[in-house]
Structure formats: structure tokens, C-alpha cells
């Protein structure tokens, strides 16, 4: 446990690093080891919990809370994320228990979740809520949201407009590295690939710790299937834009993990944000440790799959 203060050579509004919720289905031991490591990492905020599928049961709410307490002891801010697509009464029961947990703030990813946490204390408006404009930002802030995770489709220029009208004290978090969450479905694509219905999926997604790759008929990597979630195969990577984040008023930089490389990336992002490492050099190091390609189209107001190419 690191109790010493960080050297204060960073500008006061240096964005903090957040570890997004784990979107894949991993065995319990692997998850626990991962968060043990997070305790000693550069992440300031850690999001925990199941965002994708209620059938995943390696960890229950009590287990997430236990991990949360361990992270809090290690000096991390902990937020419990909630499921994005809620279909059943059982989904709602779990949601209510998380909303009432009383210990950690909640990231709401569905309007029902917003309804349950509104007016009851600070919460995080997650990236799966459709908050695209100033009026909606004011609305969600008025309900008690202390922070907003920007939907991944929103561009840098649109964000700059939104930041101008930002309510005081309201934080902005940007998904800056990871496979883009693009869609949710009632259908489980991993189970479907194995000719199984969702109700008898045999927890197939546990066999794909980084998701199941989907390629076009000319063998180009395109999407990743993660149970009911569809993601980009390309990793969204805004390392080139990090030097601008502070001036854009971005408070948190989210890294969405698909493996332990999240910790190496955290180290690189910290150095870029601190001005110790050129983005281009960080990008080269990231390309070396991450499989597959990266993209940054959305940030530039382009199709998400595109990459602006060279980093200054």
C-alpha cells in the first residue's frame, strides 16, 4: 500500500486516471488478482461490477463490495457500475441492491438506474446514458450526478462546446483507451456462435477473456462479440490527444481493461499527462503491447473505425 503523496509537479488540473469496469467474463481468481494489482497501480478511480450480463455469476455484489473495500483501503476512489441493459425483474432487484449499497457511489447506465439513485446522493452518469447536449447535462446534474462519462460517439469539438456550459463541480470523464462498447442486445452473440440460447448459454463468454473476434469475409478484423455486447475490434486510443485534456477541462481519463496491459497503459498515460513522455512515443509502446490495431475516429468527428494516423 502506497501511503506517500505524489510529487506535486503536475498541474493542478491534471486529469485523473480511471479504470473502467471490466466488461469481459473472467474466472473469480483472475478478477481478484487483477484488482489486487489495481491497488498498487496509478489508477485514481476504479469502477467495479457487471455492466454486460446478469447471468455472469463468478462474482456477486458482496464480492464486488469486498474488492471495493480493498481498493478503498489502498487509497482508490471506488464506484459500482450497473448493468446497461435491464430486462427482467431479477435485473431490477440486483440494480436496487446496488443503488442502496450505501457505501460506494453508483454509475448509472440505464434510465431506471438514474431513477433509483436520483436525489439520493452523488452518482456517476455512465457512458450508456444518452447525454449528448447541455440541456441533458443540466438535467442529469440536477438529479445529483457528480460526474458524466461521455458517450464514446461524441467528438472533441462537440465536447468543447458542452464543457463551456458545464455546471460547477460537475466532472467530465472521457473513455480514452479500450475496445469501444458499441451496442447491447437481448441476444447473446457468444452463445449464438455456439448454437446455444441465452438461457442455456453454458457461460460461453468465459472462454473468451478478451471477447470473440468477428471478421469480414475478406478477413479484416471488425468487431468483437462479448456476450450480449458488441465492441469495436480496434482499440480506441486517445493517447495523442492527452496533452489537450487538461485545457478541455477533462477531469478523468478512462482506460477500459481487456487484460493486465491496462496497468502498463496506465503508466504510459500518467507519463504523457505529466509531460514526461511524448504521445508519439507512448503510442509506439502501446502498439507493441496491444494486439490488433487502434482507432480514434470519433474524437475527430469521423467514423469511429478510422485512425487519424500520426501523433505529434
Amino acid at each position: 500500500m502506497n501511503a506517500s503523496a505524489e510529487p506535486s509537479r503536475f498541474p493542478p488540473n491534471r486529469p485523473r486516471l480511471s479504470l473502467g469496469p471490466l466488461l469481459y467474463y473472467w474466472p473469480r481468481e483472475k478478477v481478484e488478482d487483477f484488482y489486487q494489482r489495481a491497488c498498487g497501480s496509478e489508477f485514481d478511480v476504479v469502477y467495479l461490477g457487471e455492466v454486460v450480463c446478469s447471468r455472469r455469476h463468478e462474482l456477486r455484489l458482496a464480492d464486488w463490495i469486498a474488492i471495493g473495500r480493498m481498493l478503498r483501503e489502498a487509497g482508490k476512489e471506488v464506484v459500482l457500475s450497473t448493468q446497461a441493459l435491464l430486462e427482467s425483474e431479477s435485473d431490477l432487484k440486483t440494480l436496487r441492491r446496488i443503488a442502496d449499497n450505501g457505501e460506494f457511489a453508483v454509475e448509472a447506465n440505464d434510465l431506471g438506474a438514474v431513477g433509483l439513485v436520483a436525489g439520493k446522493g452523488p452518482f456517476v452518469a455512465g457512458p450508456h446514458l444518452n447525454i449528448y447536449n447541455r440541456e441533458s447535462l443540466e438535467w442529469i446534474n440536477g438529479l445529483g450526478a457528480m460526474r458524466w462519462v461521455m458517450p464514446v460517439e461524441i467528438s472533441r469539438d462537440a465536447l468543447a462546446i458542452l464543457q463551456r456550459g458545464r455546471p460547477p463541480g460537475f466532472e467530465t470523464e472521457v473513455f480514452a483507451c479500450g475496445r469501444l462498447p458499441l451496442a447491447f442486445s437481448a441476444r447473446c452473440f457468444t452463445a449464438r456462435h455456439r448454437n446455444l440460447p441465452k438461457d442455456d448459454c453454458r457461460f460461453s463468454c468465459i472462454d473468451y477473456p478478451e471477447g470473440l473476434e468477428l471478421r469480414t469475409r475478406e478477413a479484416k478484423s471488425f468487431l468483437v462479440l462479448n456476450g450480449i455486447q458488441t465492441q469495436s475490434a480496434q482499440v480506441y486510443n486517445l493517447v495523442g490527444a492527452l496533452p489537450e485534456f487538461a485545457s478541455l477541462g477533462i477531469d478523468l481519463v478512462r482506460i477500459s481493461p481487456h487484460s493486465e496491459t491496462a496497468f502498463d497503459i496506465a503508466g504510459l498515460f500518467t507519463r504523457v499527462l505529466g509531460g514526461d513522455l511524448a504521445p508519439a512515443e507512448a503510442r509506439r509502446k502501446m502498439d507493441a503491447i496491444m494486439a490488433g490495431g487502434s482507432c480514434d475516429g470519433y474524437w475527430h468527428g469521423r467514423p469511429g473505425i478510422e485512425s487519424a494516423g500520426n501523433v505529434r
Binding site: E87, D110, N130, Y132, I140, A186, R187, L214, R215
Partner: protein
């Protein structure tokens, strides 16, 4: 509330039909639609395709025609105003109010807040683009904005729809027929990932301007922004390259990995929809022809009328599904998520 015989009085679901143009609106109204839904000719609605939708004159005429027949007009202003652009959506709300329409179908919370304040007399429906899939979400939007109806994304089984209806005072409208989204509506960015444009940001999915067709020795290829969506051998019928309906390779298998092209058709569960208290059945297809709208409206009107009389004894007339399949995507149909094993 129980009738004298001890049976629950049944609500007859309204038939809500798509109007992509004035001729389509008239076709719907003249063939028995209780409501028609339409949009303005811009990106304030989620069917923002060239050549579609209503200008001022067409809308005035459409409202007159519908009201004369006792039908209602619902205007979809259901995309998400992007940063700094909200004024256009607010003007659209005011414009619709001035034209005397019966309800607005909205998704964006900021815009709903505006509408409640500026046009409190206007009936508000929560669009399927609002992505509310459970009664906590619907009741919350009811408390916040007084929504009187919610259109459910096509992700719930019949039992789950029943659960929603049983737990909310808000009227529930469900899709009964038309092209199917396999992803939960209102939160799908697949199209913008490939093309830069999505239902949420611009009101389109897999937009025509991104479509390319190529003849190759391996067959006809359909692409979106250069990405290969499918390839058709001789004799295979090529389909419009909606992104999620292509054939892709997963672990060596090439197939409809995300979704088979098929239309949703809930005709066979119509008695169920009656029983659980669905307030309205929506037909998808604003981008389809007036002939499609006439055909589908006629069949669904007949089916709803028959079911009103026959109840559980309702039987589908053989011709209905045959006719519907002729205009269905993929020439075939499915119950989609209404039937749990599809999920």
C-alpha cells in the same frame, strides 16, 4: 375492474402506422390506422433519409386528413440534439405544436424538459430511441416528464412485456411488424463506428451515402464505407447492407453472426398482446412505400378487428402471413425477442 361475467374488460390495442410521406399517411388512415407517426424533413427524427418525411404543407394536409377520419398524428422528434444544436429541435417541437398534432415522440431528456415547459399541453410519448426497457426507467420518465406512452425496444419477451405493463401507469406501445433491430434501440453505435452516422447522432443507420456495390469474380460485394458487409454468389439475392445483417466470419464460420435478415411479425401472438394489455401496436416502415403501408395496415386492421371479436379463439387467416412475407425483409419473419429462445 371486472365486468358482470367476471372477465377483465380487454383494451383494444391501437394500430400505429408509419407515414414516410403524405401518400403513405393517407394509405394508412384510409385502411384503418388509429394513429400515424411521421417526421420532419431533417435530422430531428430517426428516419432522416433523402426524399422522405414531411414539409409544412404536407403535414398540414396530413393532419387534416387524419383528423377527418378520427385518426391521430404523432410526430417523431426522436433523435438526440448534438452539442450546440438544440435550437433546431426546440423549434421543431414548437412547430409541431402549432400544427395541432396529437402527440410528440421524443427520446432526448433535455428536449423533453423543454417540451414540458414550453408546450405543456402536448402529449408526450417516449420514443423507442429513449431505450427504456424496464418499468423503473419508464416510471422515472413519467415522474420527470409526464410521458403518457412508452414505445418498448424490441428486446423483451412477451412475459417481460407483461411485467412492464403490470408495473406502470404509462401506456405501452410495442412493435408488431417490420424490420428488426437486434441491438437495443437508442444505444447502438455500430453505424457510426463504420460510417460516422448513427440513429443517435444523425437519425440514420447504415446510410445510403456510405453504401458501395462491387462486382467481383467471387460475387457481388456490398460495402459500407469500404467495409465488406456481405458477398453474394450468383443466384443469391443481394440485400441492402445494413451493418448488423451482413455475413461475417467468427472462428472460421461465415454466417449471419449478428442477425438474419427477417422481419418481425407478431401476428401469431396477437391474443397475448391483447391479454397483457398492450395499448398500441406499432408497424415499422417509414422508409417503405405507400403500397407497403396500405398492405400492412389492411392486414393488421383486419387481424386486430378479428381478435377483438374472437379473443383467444383468434386464428390467423392464411393469406395474412403470405402477404406480409411478400413485403417482409428477407421475405421471412420471426417473433424476435418476444420468443425467448431467439435471445
Amino acid at each position: 375492474m371486472q365486468g358482470a361475467t367476471g372477465e377483465m374488460p380487454r383494451k383494444i390495442p391501437e394500430l400505429v402506422c408509419p407515414a414516410g410521406s403524405l401518400p403513405a399517411l393517407k394509405a394508412a388512415v384510409d385502411h384503418g390506422a388509429d394513429c400515424v407517426y411521421l417526421g420532419f424533413r431533417d435530422d430531428t427524427n430517426a428516419r432522416n433519409f433523402a426524399g422522405l418525411n414531411f414539409d409544412e404543407a404536407a403535414l398540414k394536409s396530413g393532419v387534416r386528413h387524419a383528423h377527418a377520419a378520427g385518426a391521430r398524428v404523432l410526430v417523431a422528434i426522436n433523435t438526440y440534439p448534438q452539442a450546440g444544436a438544440g435550437e433546431r429541435w426546440r423549434r421543431a417541437v414548437d412547430h409541431a405544436a402549432a400544427l395541432g398534432v396529437d402527440a410528440l415522440i421524443i427520446a432526448d431528456p433535455g428536449l423533453m424538459a423543454y417540451t414540458c415547459g414550453a408546450q405543456p399541453q402536448l402529449r408526450l410519448h417516449l420514443s423507442v430511441q429513449g431505450s427504456a426497457t424496464n418499468y423503473e426507467a419508464i416510471n422515472f420518465m413519467h415522474r420527470e416528464f409526464g410521458i403518457q406512452r412508452a414505445v418498448l425496444p424490441r428486446v423483451l419477451s412477451v412475459a417481460q412485456v407483461e411485467e412492464v405493463i403490470a408495473n406502470t401507469p404509462v401506456e405501452i406501445e410495442v412493435f408488431g411488424f417490420g424490420s428488426l433491430c437486434v441491438m437495443v434501440e437508442g444505444r447502438c453505435a455500430l453505424s457510426s463506428y463504420a460510417t460516422g452516422e448513427s440513429p443517435n447522432n444523425v437519425g440514420v443507420c447504415s446510410p445510403p451515402k456510405a453504401v458501395q456495390w462491387r462486382d467481383t469474380p467471387e460475387g457481388v460485394e456490398s460495402r459500407l464505407n469500404g467495409i465488406l458487409i456481405d458477398r453474394y454468389a450468383k443466384g443469391e439475392k443481394a440485400a441492402y447492407p445494413t451493418l448488423c445483417k451482413g455475413r461475417f466470419e467468427v472462428e472460421g464460420e461465415v454466417h449471419y453472426a449478428i442477425e438474419d435478415p427477417a422481419a418481425l411479425n407478431a401476428l401469431e401472438i396477437l391474443p397475448e398482446l391483447f391479454r397483457i394489455g398492450v395499448a398500441a401496436i406499432k408497424i415499422e416502415g417509414r422508409q417503405r412505400s405507400p403500397a407497403y403501408v396500405e398492405q400492412v395496415t389492411r392486414i393488421w386492421r383486419a387481424a386486430i378487428d378479428r381478435c377483438t371479436v374472437d379473443g383467444e379463439a383468434f386464428a390467423i387467416a392464411a393469406a395474412w402471413n403470405e402477404e406480409l412475407d411478400k413485403v417482409a425483409e428477407g421475405r421471412t419473419h420471426t417473433l424476435g425477442a418476444y420468443h425467448r429462445p431467439w435471445k
